[in-house]
C-alpha cells in the first residue's frame, strides 16, 4: 500500500471557495426554481394584486384622506405586506422540499456552508418578496387610486420588503419542522389567519375587545403597524417593535434549532 510518487496528488492548489460557497449563479438558479413553481407565483404575486383591485379601489377610498395620503394607499401597503410575507415564507419553506428530495444531503458533499445556504434561501425569498411588493405597487400606480408623496411610496415599499424578512425566518422554521407534502397548503392557511389577526384585511379596531387583545400578540400585528407608520405619521409604539423582535427571535431560534437537529441526524 505504498504510494508511488507519480500518482501522489498535488493538494496545494485545492482551495476552499470564498463566502462559504455563496455565489450569484446559485442565487439565480434558486430564484428560477421558485418562479417555476406556478402555485407559489400565483399565490404570492397574483393574489395580492387581485385583492387590491377588488378591495382597494372602493370609490370612497381615494377621496378619503388618511395620514399623509389616502385610504387606497393604506390598503395597498397592507396587501403588499400580505404578498411579501407569503413570498418570503414560501421561499424559506422550500428547504422542506429540498430535505425531502435529498438535496440538502447532496449539498453537504459540496463546499457550501450551512450559513451560506441559509443566506441563499433568505435572499431568494427576498427576491420573490420584492416582486410581490412591486406588483402591488405597480397596480397602485396604474389605477391612480392610492395617493401619497413619492418619498412615502419608496419608504413604505422598502419597509414592507425588509419587514418580510421576519417571515423568511418563519418559512425556514416551517420548512425544517414540517414534511414537504403539505407545507405549502398549510402556509396559505396560516398566513391568511395571521393576516386577519394582524389587521391586514380589516382594521383590528373592528374586532371585539377580547379578540383585539389577542390579535396584538400575533406575528403580523407589529409589522403591519410599523409599515404603515410612514403614511400615518403617528409615531412608533414600542410594543410593535417588541412584537416584531420577539417573533423574529422565536422564528429564527426555531429554524436554527430544527436545522441543527436535521443536520445532526443525517
Amino acid at each position: 500500500m505504498s504510494t508511488a510518487p507519480s500518482i501522489a496528488p498535488d493538494l496545494s492548489g485545492r482551495r476552499v471557495p470564498p463566502l462559504g460557497g455563496f455565489n450569484l449563479t446559485a442565487l439565480k438558479l434558486e430564484v428560477r426554481r421558485l418562479t417555476r413553481n406556478r402555485r407559489t407565483v400565483i399565490i404570492s404575486i397574483v393574489s395580492p394584486v387581485v385583492f387590491f383591485l377588488l378591495f382597494g379601489l372602493n370609490k370612497a377610498y381615494d377621496s378619503e384622506a388618511y395620514g399623509h395620503g389616502n385610504v387606497a394607499a393604506f390598503v395597498m401597503i397592507s396587501l403588499a405586506l400580505y404578498g411579501a410575507v407569503l413570498a418570503t415564507t414560501f421561499g424559506g419553506a422550500m428547504v422542506s422540499i429540498e430535505r425531502a428530495q435529498g438535496w440538502s444531503r447532496q449539498l453537504r458533499l459540496t463546499p457550501l456552508s450551512p450559513v451560506a445556504y441559509i443566506v441563499l434561501k433568505i435572499l431568494t425569498a427576498l427576491v420573490l418578496g420584492l416582486c410581490s411588493v412591486t406588483a402591488v405597487y405597480v397596480a397602485g400606480i396604474l389605477t391612480h387610486k392610492p395617493s401619497m408623496p413619492v418619498g412615502l411610496w419608496i419608504a413604505t415599499g422598502f419597509s414592507v420588503w425588509i419587514g418580510s424578512l421576519l417571515f423568511a425566518a418563519f418559512g425556514l422554521f416551517l420548512g425544517y419542522l414540517l414534511p414537504a407534502e403539505n407545507v405549502l397548503q398549510l402556509i396559505g392557511l396560516i398566513l391568511a389567519l395571521l393576516s386577519f389577526a394582524g389587521g391586514l384585511f380589516i382594521p383590528i379596531s373592528q374586532f371585539a375587545h377580547g379578540v383585539q387583545d389577542i390579535a396584538k400578540w400575533t406575528p403580523l400585528y407589529g409589522l403591519n403597524q410599523l409599515v404603515h407608520t410612514p403614511l400615518l405619521g403617528n409615531g412608533v409604539d414600542w410594543t410593535w417593535v417588541v412584537n416584531v423582535l420577539a417573533w423574529l427571535i422565536i422564528f429564527a431560534g426555531g429554524a436554527i434549532w430544527r436545522m441543527r437537529r436535521d443536520t445532526g441526524r443525517v
Binding site: I7, R105, Q106, V266
Partner: protein, 304 residues
C-alpha cells in the same frame, strides 16, 4: 503523502444497532477499492462517516490528512450516492451548473455532461429522467470538482446490465488518470471486475481485505475438516499450505489451496480422523465470509 482515507477503530451505533463495529481501513492514493458486503453490512454507514455525513461514536477519520468536511470543501472528495440528492424542478444542465458554482474550481458544465454521457438530455427536467440517467447525472456532479477520491455507494443498483456496463466503463476510463476510487457493492462480480482491492464487510467489521486475486484464490481453495482432539489454531496454522484455520471443540477446519497436502499432513503427522474435504465456489466463499451464520465459516482467521 497522507493516505486518501484512514479510518481507525470506527464505531457507529444507531440505538442498539452497531452499524459499524470497529473498522480500520487505509486507502492509498490511486487505489481502486471495493467495499463488498451484503445489505446491512455497514457499507453505507462507513461511507457516510468517510464523507463527514455522519459522525462516528468513536474512532478517527481522516481524508488526505484532514477532516472529511475540510477535504470536501477543497473539492478533494466527491461521491455518487445511491438515491435522491437531485431537485426535480431543475434541468440536468442547471443542476450541474448549480453544483459547479459552489466549488472554488470546477470543470466546465459541457465537459462534465459529455464525460457522463448526458449531453443530449442536458435540457431535460430531472423529474423526467430515468433512474439510469439520474445516476449518470449524479456521476457528472461528482466529476465537477475533479476529485482526487471518488466514492460511489452502490452506484449501479437499479440499472440494467447494459447501463451497468457503460457506467463502469466511464468510471474505469476516469480512474486511469490516477483517481482513487472507492465503491460499495453487494455484487461480487462487480467488485471482482472493477476493483484492485476488495474489503469484505460483515456486521460492521472488516472480515477480509486483499486483492481481487487473493480473494478469488481463497475462494478457489478447499476446506479440510477433521476430528482432532487437543488441536490449537497456532498448531494448525503451521501446517504447510494452510491459509486459514478454525477450531470448534474437537473439530478442526483448515482452508487451503493445497488441500491434498493438508489432508496428507493431518493423516500422517497427527491423530486426525473422520477427514472430509469440501470445495467452495466464489459465491459460497463470499457467503461464508459475509453471511449471517453465527459461527462464521472456516475462513475467518488469518489474513489473506
Amino acid at each position: 503523502m497522507p493516505l486518501a482515507v484512514k479510518l481507525t477503530g470506527v464505531h457507529k451505533n444507531f440505538g442498539h444497532v452497531h452499524a459499524v463495529n470497529g473498522v480500520d481501513l487505509q486507502i492509498a492514493s490511486g487505489e481502486i477499492v471495493a467495499i463488498l458486503g451484503p445489505n446491512g453490512a455497514g457499507k453505507t454507514s462507513t461511507i457516510d462517516i468517510m464523507l463527514g455525513l455522519s459522525r462516528p461514536n468513536s474512532g478517527t477519520v481522516s481524508v488526505y490528512g484532514m477532516q472529511p468536511r475540510q477535504a470536501i470543501a477543497r473539492g478533494l472528495v466527491s461521491a455518487v450516492m445511491q438515491t435522491g440528492g437531485l431537485l426535480k424542478d431543475l434541468t440536468v444542465s442547471e443542476t450541474v451548473e448549480y453544483m459547479g458554482s459552489l466549488f472554488a474550481h470546477s470543470q466546465p458544465v459541457r465537459e462534465v455532461l459529455s464525460r457522463a454521457g448526458i449531453t443530449e438530455i442536458a435540457d431535460r427536467k430531472v423529474a423526467k429522467c430515468s433512474g439510469g440517467e439520474q445516476q449518470r447525472l449524479r456521476f457528472a456532479l461528482a466529476l465537477l470538482c475533479d476529485p482526487e477520491l471518488l466514492v460511489l455507494d452502490e452506484p449501479t443498483s437499479g440499472m440494467d446490465v447494459e447501463g451497468r456496463r457503460s457506467f463502469w466503463s466511464a468510471i474505469r476510463t476516469d480512474a486511469e488518470k490516477g483517481r482513487t476510487v472507492l465503491f460499495a457493492t453487494h455484487y461480487l462480480e462487480e467488485a471482482d471486475a472493477y476493483a484492485d482491492r476488495i474489503v469484505l464487510l460483515r456486521h460492521g467489521t472488516v472480515v477480509a481485505d486483499g486483492t481481487a486475486a487473493e480473494i478469488k484464490s481463497k475462494a478457489a481453495g478447499r476446506t479440510v475438516r477433521a476430528t482432532l482432539a487437543g488441536a490449537s489454531e497456532a498448531m494448525l496454522q503451521a501446517i504447510p499450505g494452510a491459509d486459514s484455520v478454525e477450531v470448534r471443540g474437537e473439530t478442526v477446519l483448515v482452508h487451503s489451496n493445497d488441500s491434498d497436502a493438508v489432508a496428507r499432513y493431518l493423516l500422517t503427522q497427527t491423530a486426525a480422523k473422520d477427514l472430509e474435504v469440501t470445495a467452495r465456489g466464489i459465491e459460497e466463499a463470499f457467503l461464508a465470509l459475509t453471511g449471517d451464520d453465527p459461527a462464521p465459516g472456516a475462513a475467518t482467521t488469518g489474513a489473506i
